[in-house]
């Protein structure tokens, strides 16, 4: 276990967690049905609980909050890994088309099992991310196929290929969703917009096993530091570059696919969280990865809070809120790049 003695790391981690707690507090208490802190505490601690408070807290707000946190953490972590592996600060699961691939597979799943499908059956809930993973892997395979030249991954091509396959998978997704029956179509549309509106505890349970990948990534984080050097020098150090790259990419695709399976495509989190993390704590990946996860968590939770409170009674999908906030930051980053 790497030792984390850096005071800066703990400060950033601590303040992110404080932010998360504040957002969580606001999310649980605010809404169409306002609750006081006391009400929430009573409900959580089971002190003479009221059935309507139970409903609001346990069925609506908590699962959504927890799911937002999990998705944010998964996307932030995956983004940090992908940027580290590709040595490209502009890479993001969304821009690389991994989201779109996973999304297509999930819609295909909804399409193949239409009618039979319900969000409440365990079988379908647990198999959706597996389908997403297959889609994500297909997308990655296509990226590899087209972006490698003489066996090297070309960072410039990577992004263009990602854009191309994102629109290709998007078209397939659109085609499939139009062939669906109306009820499933509705579900697919809600889900495609990148929303955690329909969160429930089953989705949370479905996300959890995928977090077993996080420690796998974390124990390899020092390798990401090495990856910032030229590949040949890393080989010279005795690291099996291909194997490590594959493991790291597979883990992050797994995380991304699981998030896409529950929330559709939420972009920019995987891009911004690692950038913020690097600016705040520097270049060591064993610190960047957890901080990216926590920042991603904060981004998605706040995005969802904004989306559902600013536009009340209507709701804006969290994916849209994040892209509105994320794009200006991204442009700012582009302006700062030297090369």
């Amino acid at each position: 276990m790497p030792k984390l003695s850096n005071a800066r790391f703990w400060t950033v981690l601590g303040s992110s967690l404080v932010l998360i707690v504040i957002v969580a507090y606001l999310s649980v208490t605010n809404g169409t049905f306002d609750l006081s802190v006391l009400d929430v505490c009573k409900t959580l601690l089971r002190i003479d609980p009221l059935p309507e408070h139970d409903l609001v807290v346990f069925e609506f707000r908590l699962p959504r909050l927890v799911l937002g946190a999990l998705i944010g953490c998964a996307l932030g972590t995956a983004g940090a890994v992908i940027q580290g592996v590709t040595r490209n600060g502009l890479a993001d699961p969304g821009i690389l088309g991994i989201n779109a691939g996973a999304g297509m597979a999930v819609v295909l799943f909804m399409f193949l099992f239409q009618g039979v499908l319900s969000t409440t059956s365990w079988w379908s809930v647990l198999s959706m991310p597996l389908f997403g993973l297959i889609g994500g892997l297909i997308a990655t395979a296509v990226i590899y196929l087209f972006a490698t030249q003489n066996g090297r991954l070309d960072a410039q091509r990577l992004i263009l290929v990602g854009i191309a396959i994102a629109s290709g998978f998007g078209a397939i997704t659109m085609y499939l969703s139009l062939k669906m029956n109306p009820r499933d179509f509705e579900m697919a549309v809600v889900w495609l917009s990148g929303s955690i509106h329909s969160a429930n505890w089953k989705f949370v349970v479905m996300m959890l096993p995928w977090f077993l990948l996080v420690p796998v990534i974390w124990f390899r984080s020092h390798i990401l530091d090495l990856f910032q050097m030229e590949r040949d020098s890393v080989r010279g150090l005795g690291v099996s570059v291909e194997r490590e790259t594959n493991i790291l990419l597979l883990c992050s695709i797994g995380l991304v696919s699981a998030s896409v399976a529950v929330s559709g495509s939420i972009g920019f989190v995987g891009l911004i969280a690692p950038h913020l993390a690097r600016r705040l704590i520097g270049w060591q990946h064993r610190q960047i990865i957890p901080i990216s996860g926590v920042i991603g968590m904060a981004i998605v939770m706040s995005g969802d809070l904004i989306g559902r409170s600013v536009f009340a009674p209507a709701e804006l999908a969290v994916g849209i809120v994040i892209s509105i906030i994320g794009v200006p930051y991204y442009v700012y980053l582009l302006m700062r790049t030297k090369k």
Binding site: L160, S167, Y175, L178, K179, F311, V321, V331, L334
Partner: protein
Amino acid sequence: MKFQSRMRMFVMLIAPIAALLLVVASILYGAKQITATTVWESLFWFDASNVDHQIIWSSRLPRAVGAILIGCFLAVSGALMQGMTRNYLASPSMMGVSDGSVFVITLLMVFVPSAHSTQLILFSMLGSALGAGLVFGIAWLIPNGMSPVRLAILGIIIGTFLSGVADAVATYFQISQSVSFWYNARLHQMDPALIKLSIPFAFVGLMLALVASRSLLVLSFGEDVAASLGQRTWIVKAVTILAVVILTGVSVALAGKIAFVGLIIPHIARFLVGVDHRWTVPVSGVLGGLFLPLCDIIARFLNHPFETPIGVVTALFGVPFFLYLIKTRGGGKHA
């Protein structure tokens, strides 16, 4: 360049015939089968009480004509943009142009709910200008912004941003439905009145495009060369951008967002007739005008009897072509 000069003749000769065939096919095939004799009769002896004649005049014919026009406009815009920026990825769908248009139309629908079609077309153009202006402006500001990869990323994220804001505004004022009605699946409910309205704009746009295409070749040697040859580059650029904005704005107003036409057609045109823009631009227009109706006909058969969005069909051709371009051209030095 014998092949290319023969191709020029061939394209120009074959195009009208092909276009006519496509229009006929486009009228014949659809959810309701209509016989060739009925089409013939409806064209020359229109009978208002005949339902088939009504379908032909109010839906099939406008749709065929609309597809030809939009395909032509988008391809010409693409050819102009690729010529001006010397970036092989520059094209209307890549540059956030249509998203800018959606954004402005959304605002218009919120603040001037009574706006009529002419205003919508005008504001759609304004929106295209805004989208293209933002993308080009930022590309100009950031280091290496005009490199293919940077420009593609910028186009995508600015597009996401504009459509996100539009979505937020539409959600807030609860007009999402009317906005999406204005922008989605427009090709199969092409409004004949809208086509008529767009013709004068399109005429101006195409004239400007032809004027610009005469000077683009010099510009394509690079700014310095063009300037030293006595060309006032900013005029050429301004005319080009104006043409792009008008043509793309009109197409977006007519049919919403249709990707890939403006990206792939100019490449095919260059392959056929060479790099001289005096030929590439008009030939792109002709090929685009053939390509989109073809896609439209395919779209009707893909999931018969239901319509498939035309974007799915253009992507069917566009994505492999795009990947081929990336494979052969790469991304340049800057990501």
